[in-house]
Symmetry: C2
Subunit: 425 residues, 2 copies
């Protein structure tokens, strides 16, 4: 912390970091895909070769963790191992294999006057990324930002500071070795909480802020940020089992959506069932969910069919449990399901199970969510499942980026018009 | 104003308008392209058939105009005529002929597990559009918003209130006639300045705000808006005449970029000339620009070559004159031109004139502007010239929409994944 302990002015420090990032972003924007991929591969090599340093730093974080009041689960997420470092390194190599998004011709045409107009993909510039304690995210986020031509300012949690520093040292060394500016990836070297506020005011240098963490972090960023924010907000995801559903398929999709990883944003929180099949479907479903430890909060009609469940409050239908809890409601028809999803949901991920083509089409057309699933688990709303190759988060916004954010979502475009002396009449 | 004079609570009025817009947007999002086009054509018919009502209302605005201190030019922009109404009507018909952007499959793939994933274009939702005194913008903006599936709240200038009301009456009547919700197009019926502030807080109902007007309006909106904003900020546009330029072509491009319509954002404000050709190029250029009444503000080197010009201050190079004034600077090479554009420009539109392929490629790659022109006038950065068909503004942002904003720029997308029971391992 020597650099910082001497730097009393956090605002000046933040401005210096942001300016350096902006300068680096200009060079990164015109770096070749080859050079960026060399960096990714060299960083992977260094992480393998010098993993011992990272593990030693991680050990310091793990020792300090109980003092931060971290839960066992949080400490497990913080823990690195040789195997986890190997997966960090191979993730970098996977990103190296993705196509370079920068310079892609998105579309183009020749205008009647002969002007050749193309839309060319360009980086956004500088990304300010705020995240919590998993140190593998440090390498991942840096890789996605740099591969898409953006400089990144990483603000990790204080619980992972030593691990993040050790990883950052290797990432920066690799940048230097391949001739890219080291300030392309910077780690915020102060745990002073006011630092975030300073960065959020610097829209002159920072083009987008991406907060990944709890609701309070996101709300703070939304309130203070002076630049665009890509939010990763809550997922109140539904599975609607239609009257024309294959009930066996519905059962598997509900179980997978709820139980496969209940603590994530694309897990289902609410089950809607068409009244015509409720009696046939819900009793078995209740047994299966109960066996997996799922607590059921039910409307009156579903409660009679799901023994051992409790009554749902209106609030239950608006809650992202992130846990083995599921709210259940019987609906009269597709329309009522659509209304429920619109009023109670969070426009994240919603699924229908049906063999009725019209119902499937209507659901896909009307549900206004980042991802709409037809006969598939809500858990598929992610960058890997959708083929993006890598993701820095799942946006709950409609503006700029929606759903999984990979390389493309961290870019903008410019028009390039090539002429032969055209002037306007 | 009867509805409003009775409504003392502007906040309640704004909330009611915004809620109605949100409700309408849900219906518009799933309206067919055919129905939206019927509306456009019917509105054009009504404007032709009942143009007299609009002209009478316009007369009231024109009579009140001197009282608002409007300049002659502003009064001219406010004035409608049968010919201008005809062009308003035919603009609606042109927009009807554009393809429906909603529902377009942007891209898609089949994942290894058989999941069919597509990205489908969807409307943003509700647009809050703030603009100044030209009443033709009322119909144009409504057409672009509705065709892209969005409801719009129109806040025009008080100087055009009667004209806007008359046009809005016809637009709303046509909505009703074709079975679309009348609240798809609403006009803010109060001239109370606090109304804008209320709307800017309603991110629950309004998805994007588009201010089109002077800098102070845009700055106010940026400061107060709680939802995304598509800005239409300043254009400090450059023409760089390279050493390898065809000087005849350069002359025509400079004249067109500066003089064809000096008061608009994509007019050139600054001329950069490579030192190697300055002596051959600038004296003739000076004569030609002088003859067109252009005032020249020059660096030391260019001043010697452009008789009758005055010395430029550093501020001149940062100024959007929007007038027949041009700043001029001789640069040593392409690099210096690129640096100048990056530090003094506004990333709007910049042009190079050259026959050197490498210089053209470097300029197009490095200049970070919404539009980069090679051997063409800066004036071509607009929706019509780039083939968008219609535009609601030219965005100076990099996030979401950059450059001309047409139908596509008022949309988002959602992922639709169709499966056959896939669950996540």
């Amino acid at each position: 912390m020597s650099t910082i302990s001497e730097m009393t002015d956090v605002a000046a420090y933040a401005a210096q970091v942001a300016r350096a990032a902006k300068d680096a972003s200009r060079r990164l924007a015109v770096a070749s895909g080859q050079q960026k991929d060399q960096w990714l591969c060299r960083a992977a090599e260094l992480i393998r070769a010098r993993g011992g340093e990272v593990l030693a730093a991680n050990q310091r974080d793990l020792e300090a963790a109980p003092g931060y009041g971290l839960s066992t689960a949080a400490i497990d997420r913080l823990r690195l191992s040789i195997a986890r470092l190997e997966s960090v390194a191979s993730a970098l190599e996977e990103i190296a294999r993705l196509p370079n998004p920068v310079g892609e011709i998105i579309d183009g045409s020749v205008r009647p006057n002969g002007l050749e107009v193309s839309r060319v993909r360009v980086p956004l510039g500088v990304v300010f990324f705020i995240y919590e304690s998993r140190p593998n995210v440090t390498a991942d986020a840096a890789a996605i930002c740099v591969k898409s031509g953006n400089a990144v300012i990483l603000r990790g949690g204080k619980e992972a500071l030593h691990s993040n520093r050790a990883l950052h040292t290797l990432l920066a060394l690799a940048l230097d070795e391949v001739g890219l500016p080291a300030a392309a990836v910077q780690l915020v070297e102060t745990t002073d909480r006011s630092a975030v506020g300073h960065f959020l005011r610097m829209n002159e240098y920072i083009d987008v802020t991406i907060p990944r963490g709890g609701k309070s972090l996101i709300e703070r960023v939304m309130a203070e940020a002076t630049m665009p924010v890509i939010k990763h907000y809550d997922g109140i995801c539904h599975v609607y089992v239609d009257r024309a559903a294959d009930l066996e398929m519905a059962r598997a999709i509900v179980v997978n959506s709820k139980c496969q990883r209940p603590g994530v944003c694309n897990a289902a929180e609410s089950l809607l069932v068409h009244a015509a099949i409720a009696e046939r479907f819900l009793p078995d479903m209740a047994r299966e969910l109960k066996a997996r430890g799922v607590e059921l909060r039910c409307c009156e009609r579903s409660r009679r069919l799901m023994p051992g469940s409790r009554a749902a409050t209106d609030d239950d239908y608006r809650t992202e449990f992130l846990d083995l809890i599921l709210s259940v409601r019987v609906v009269d028809d597709l329309e009522q399901a659509l209304e429920h999803i619109d009023s109670y949901g969070s426009h994240h991920t919603d699924a229908i199970v049906t063999n009725d083509l019209q119902a499937a089409q209507q659901f896909a057309a009307i549900v206004d969510s980042a991802a709409v699933m037809v006969n598939a688990s809500t858990r598929f709303n992610d960058g890997g499942a959708f083929g993006l190759g890598a993701e820095i988060g799942i946006s709950t916004d409609k503006f700029h980026a929606r759903g999984p954010c990979g390389l493309r979502e961290l870019t903008s475009y410019k028009y390039v018009a090539r002429g032969s002396g055209q002037v306007r009449e």
